[in-house]
Point group: C2
Chain length 151, copies 2
């Protein structure tokens, strides 16, 4: 198969056993699946799923973020936010405090802040290891390229 990307920086031989490995979309999917599986395992240490940990990281230091706003930031539908926040609430990691008769702010509890410390440690180690696996000449291009695909 021809290298349709015409990439001059990737002289690595393409194994005939996987002709899909030169496709950007395919490599994106495989890399993301591999990394998220790894992060999921690491976050098992604090019994949190990736989306739950994302919520904790996002609301830290914010007193008035509603589940709708969190969902808008993380691209999670409000219907799917409900059970996520409910679980965090049930574990005492967040509290839902009324902003008015309708809106609820999702805020960290003291226990939530303690767990968030663990989450920060786990994710920072993970992110650092992830970047280290990328060859130095490609490293600085990684986040900008990805951001162009959704930001």
């Amino acid at each position: 198969m021809v290298d349709v990307t015409g990439n001059p920086l990737d002289p690595a031989p393409v194994e005939d056993s996987d002709p899909l490995a030169i496709l950007p979309g395919y490599t994106l999917r495989r890399a993301a699946n591999a990394m998220m599986a790894e992060l999921g395992t690491l976050l098992g240490e604090v019994d949190l799923r990736v989306s739950e940990a994302s919520i904790l990281l996002l609301i830290d230091g914010r007193a008035t973020m509603t589940s709708t706003q969190i969902g808008a930031a993380l691209d999670i539908r409000s219907a799917n936010m409900a059970p996520l926040v409910a679980r965090l609430d049930a574990r005492g990691l967040v509290a839902r405090v009324p902003l008015d008769g309708k809106s609820l702010a999702v805020v960290l509890t003291d226990a939530g802040r303690r767990v968030l410390g663990e989450v920060r440690r786990i994710t920072q180690d993970f992110e650092r290891d992830l970047m280290r696996r990328i060859p130095t000449e490609h490293r600085d291009h990684f986040v900008p390229a990805l951001n162009a695909l959704w930001r």
Copy 2:
């Protein structure tokens, strides 16, 4: 928040509304979700899921690939391969031909080859558009960086 990646090539301002956007793992997840949702929509035209289209692309021109081998190449468990191949078989896109009393080769049928033509058109357009969305200075680094994370 500080740019912990220390990336000299990304002067883009980080929106305070999403402090996670500087995290490589997070951007990887968001980009992959966005792209796969898009590809999924495009493949709806031929009523195929991404994993099913991957199988068709992989087995083209191969006469003796078993579902186990396909699964090994695409990182799909054999338990999950079974219903995927069964659906492709039921639609007449692939046939399962015995290699011996135990192994079955999954091969394209004529109908499968026709649909594969559509799949190639869809995926090639998709991959091209994906790469075009990445700024030129980052483009050549994209696939090599991703491949370092799982290959």
